[in-house]
């Protein structure tokens, strides 16, 4: 099938790629020059780039604090997701009374966007006494249905003879999950880690609702707050943007395959 010429396809894809990348370039350029802010016409190529706006970020806002908070919440979320999803995923590979009901419940819960639950979720978290705490920030995301199904599919592919043999040797369900299932499901673990990390790292609405003190704010909140203080008057805002985006982009480029496969498996945000 080599009958059609390739160059029009390349040309079209090149044009689209440029259109997709230009916004990144524009912000990156502003973050190292700041010149667009004060001059018209904006220059397309950066003149005299400098890193000072990246330094400014540390003085304008408690960047380290926001970063620490984001990391703490994300680590909590990722650890909980891998553990709880593996447990639930394993349970769903077993036969037990009520399995169909649980499956139906999970599938229905997938239809409930988090945005439709914010008012009661806030009230519930308040009753639990978890407002303005790391656990409160992480809790609603501590288990994700999509990721449970990723584990379930992966565990089902493990030969059942292995688990049966282990059970005869006296290994508990807990032991089977940790000693047999998880070591044989590296791709599923990677998918769980990446998806739950990205969802937690990027989450804005929930931290906006549950945090009270400036000390508990995460990076997205810090970014929005910085915008409201400074408007678009300093290149530091864009330096901040780049600093926040970089970990996500890096992680995505490193683990693209797991990320896309996980999304394709779930196809909706859990």
């Amino acid at each position: 099938m080599h009958r059609y010429p390739r160059w029009p396809i390349h040309l079209a894809l090149l044009a689209i790629s440029i259109a997709m990348l230009v916004p990144f370039y524009w912000v990156l350029k502003t973050s190292v020059t700041g010149e667009n802010i004060f001059s018209y016409p904006p220059s397309l190529i950066p003149h005299a780039p400098h890193p000072f706006y990246y330094v400014d970020v540390w003085y304008y806002i408690p960047f380290a604090r926001y970063f620490l908070n984001s990391v703490a919440v994300s680590v909590l979320t990722v650890a909980a997701n891998v553990t709880l999803n593996a447990m639930a995923g394993y349970a769903l590979t077993r036969d037990f009374a009520g399995r169909r009901v649980v499956l139906m419940l999970f599938l229905s819960c997938m239809m409930v966007p988090f945005q439709a639950t914010i008012i009661p979720a806030y009230l519930i978290t308040g009753r639990l006494g978890l407002l303005d705490s790391y656990l409160g920030l992480a809790l609603p995301q501590c288990s994700t249905i999509v990721c449970i199904f990723v584990f379930k599919a992966s565990f089902e592919a493990v030969p059942s003879a292995l688990a049966d043999a282990a059970r005869i040797d006296g290994l508990s369900d807990w032991g089977i999950i940790w000693r047999i299932m998880l070591p044989l499901s590296k791709a599923a673990v990677a998918t769980n880690v990446i998806l739950s990390f990205i969802w937690s790292w990027n989450n804005f609405l929930w931290p906006l609702i549950v945090t009270r003190s400036a000390d508990m704010q995460t990076l997205p909140l810090g970014l929005a707050r910085f915008l409201s203080y400074q408007e678009d008057t300093t290149g530091a805002l864009y330096a901040f943007c780049i600093m926040v985006l970089a970990p996500g982009i890096l992680l995505f480029l490193l683990a693209q395959k797991e990320f896309i496969e996980g999304l394709a498996a779930g196809a909706t945000k859990g």
């Binding site: 099938m1 079209a12 999970f106 409930v112 008012i119 009661p120 809790l139 678009d232 999304l263």
Partner: protein
Amino acid sequence: MIWCLLAPSLAIFLAYRVLPLAWNVVLSFEDWSPLHPARWIGWDNYDEMLFDDDVFWQALWNTLLFMASAPIAIAMALGLALLVNADIRGRDVYRTIVFLSYPLMTVAVAIIWRWMFDERVGLINYVARSLGLVDRPIEFLNSFDWALPSVIVANIWQTLGFYMIVLLTGLQSIPPELREAAAIDGAGAVRRFWAITMPLLRPAVFLCFVIGMLNSFTSFDLVYVMTGGGPGRATELLVTYIYKLGFAQTRFDYAAAVTVFFFALLISVTAVANRLSGDDAGAMRAD
């Protein structure tokens, strides 16, 4: 033992999915705020919403417009998916570039696009003025006519890659023999596309529609940071309105009523889409 393994996840879903839905319904029939005890008021909140609240109707209309942009994005993504499905060099690089914006933090994406749409030095105004399309810069995000389309453009930029991946997965599941057989029988490229590719791609396309609808209900971060719902209420979506009612005006009861409406709308639109697709979207999701 099995139930012990399920318990933590079940507890989280019951507490943060099932219970909130029920609580919303109860709350929506009450007059309640954290400051005074609840009083049952029947349909009063819904009465106010439907007959006495212009902002609600504006937010609903904007949400529907936002939803109506999904087919445009999906058509663009379909074209892209066909292009990157071609047997060409570097197609993985193209796929990565198009998908790159999807996993990014939406707050940052909103700031990037504020900057692109800036009236003085934004790239879009600069290009438009350089080409002589406009004589004076357009204040995109402060204009009643332009604000919503601008937000939608940013949204399409971010979600295009995701639609593309879903459609690409669909394309790759079509056995190539089908198209080859049709080619041997003398069907041209256009005919093959409409007679073979499109019908077999239907589940993936409908899945995209469902995702697009969900998207119009959940794009809180983008709107909140790009425009805050303004100017006026020009970009207010139901989701931003619910947030403001609840957490800026402390009207939890009324916000609950709007949420119940919002969720019922979401479920019915999804059910209709699923029915239209011959229950295909659900089948694909369960895979």
